[in-house]
Amino acid sequence: MSRGLPLVYGLSALGAAAVLLPLGVLLALGLGSDVALGGQVPAIALNTLLLTGLTVAGAILLGVPLALLTAYTDLPGRGLWTALLAAPLAVPSYLGAFAYFAATGAGGELSALTGLPVPNVDGLAGAAWVMTLYTYPFVFLATRAGLRNLDATALDAARTLGMPLPTALVRVVLPRVRNSVAAGALLVALYTLSDFGTPAIMRLDTFTRAIFVEYNAFGLERAALLSLGLLGLVAVVLLLEWLVGTTREQPGRTPRLHLGRTGRAAALVGVALVLLATLGMPLGVFTLGVLREGSGGLDPLLLLRSVSASGLAAAAAVLLALPVAYTATRGRVGRLLERVTYVGFGVPGIVLGTALVVVGLTLDFLYQSLALLVLGYVVRFLSLAVGNIRAPLERAEQGLVGAARSLGAAPGEAFRRVTLPLILPGLLAAGALVFLEVMRELPATLLLRPTGFETLATHLWQVYEAGAFGRAALPALLLVVVSGAAVALMLRREQGAAER
């Protein structure tokens, strides 16, 4: 036990407390009321669970192969594809959902364009489809980071002993990243539980839709009570992920797989299809809007504010996530503190924002300040950072750090010279994830931002609400491009870190 440990635990507890603070407000609001919820709850809970289950399955089916493809193969332009494949995380899901709503069905844009009957994308299947498209990058990025940390030796041995590649991937490689996949899947599940836009547009009755209706009708107590019901589901999901357990092994040389000519072509077609469905669809629908209504220009300050708020939040979240992830590798208390941070991601932004408004008003200096906005982002997205840092930290902390310490390195030096280089890719991935999510976050942003602080996301919302899709095209495109560029930048650093 080093002397620094109590401090680390203190910081970790601070992170957990920050997440629990708005929940306390919520509890006071929900439990203090004397309203009844009525008989709609079982049906809503069932819809919510079905949507979550289907979305998680879809995200794994899409995210894991794409992670293998970009982490191990000689696919040309891997860096670019990785950045683009992560970019759907920056598309607000209501925009994606609305694009599908407008494009499909009899009389939709697609059937008007092609003359072919196109089935409606809506209901449970439609919502799961859209949610999958805009959440699979959670699985993709987490799995990819896990894969890049595996040593090639086991895979090479399996191949040498005659195991065909697909079998070797499924039986030798994937089991070793199952906690990365599970970590990504957990984020998908929590995002799905807390998202409002997609189920609403796809006409699926979920907890978030019911919460939103109450909030809009000034029924804050009922909204709080429904949120507590939703939190029950969040707890179930957290428990499920805990049961997956962790794998432990040393990092090493990244495997390299050769696709061959046909393999490359097939892979490129697959990647292109995914990008068409996730980015092409909304951008196409909005481009039609530009052609019909004109684009209406854009204020560069919007972009600047989005990027600075997202950057600040990403940095703050990573800094606070480090102690949380560290204590999570050290024992039960730490694991519990870590679990608590995930609750922030399972609570709808509008609920979190409302609770933090009360917190801000109580501590008056915080209200409508950039600090409160960043705090809101950290509370909501801290778990994204924790999840990406914990796994590499776990591997680094056993063995190598002990070796460094026994060779005479002080704890600080061991961290700086051994742990940090090993977990740097994880830190960057964590920062990138938080950055992307903050770029598209809307409900909490609207409630917590300083007065007059318009961002790309708030601007997008305004033009979308007004039905002016032409004017949504440019900011949506910018959101995707900037987010893609941010991911590309971080992945380049990741490459550098891995090669050092």
């Binding site: 109450e214 029924g219 009360v358 609207l446 708030t458």
Partner: protein
Amino acid sequence: MVDRRDFLKSLAALGGLGLSGAWGRAVAEALAADALPALRGDLTVYLGRGEGGLYKRIVEAIRERSPELALEIRRGSSSGLANTLVAEARHGGARADLFWSIDASSLGHVADEGLARPVPARLHEPLPEAFRLEAFVPISGRVRSIAYNPGRVRAEALPERIMELPDTDLKVGWAPSYGACQSFLTAMRLLEGEAATREWLRAIREQSRAYAGELGAVMAAAQGEVDLALANHYYTLRLKQGQPDIPLELAFTRGDAGALINTAGAALLSDSAVAADFVRYLHSREVQRFLAEQAYEIPLVEGVEPPAGAPAIARLEPPELDLTRLGDLQPTLALMREAGVL
């Protein structure tokens, strides 16, 4: 599209257009913005929605005219800001002078919570009698309408009264979880009573398809997914502007909730004189014309034409109802839950 510079110019110009008496003679005519004093001092406005940046352009024009005005604008959803205002008042952190919102229910809610100052008489002057309210100042009108697909249903087949809609076999698109629809149903509850509204909701449930928003419902009518959509009037006009051939027409019921004129409006939250003067700008001929031409909203002051394709206001027969009462949403939601539409 009128660009910003043109709009600023028109706001600066002394408007001298002929006046058509759409709102009756007792009403004072709209002022040209030039006749109004430049604003000075501090002013914080909470703006519920803002129609895709259109309201922002109005704000910019006023800023440009009033270099000594320190104006802060906070935008959000109308209900979100109403909730925020109530929270601020409860925790002693009130900071807004004016709540400018696109729907009457959020303004009514703020008034119900005792946050709205009484409207001074001079702000009533440009408005028709029906819109001279105690608690907030109506700015522009948003009319409930039936947006129907003429390829699927003839105008004669549409009911004259909203309560007769269940007697038809028309397939209805609507957005029951949407604020504007809930305002309309609140009006129905206040005008027709709880029992009749519950019965209507139960019947409509069987012949309807619910959408997330009213734009979606209107688009579904155009696509032929439903025969008609119950929605505010401007979605249809905005869609037609982009796609003139889209199969959509507007119809209005008579003297009931189906023809409710809901309004965007402003509630005064402090004694700031600047706040009241700011509202006078919103009633100026230039702003009213801009709202009509760009946002397809119905101007409420004398002398400004309704938007192209909008109902001739004189032909509308809105019900008699105090719009402030639309803030009382919870009983409406209870009815909707009972009927299984929410």
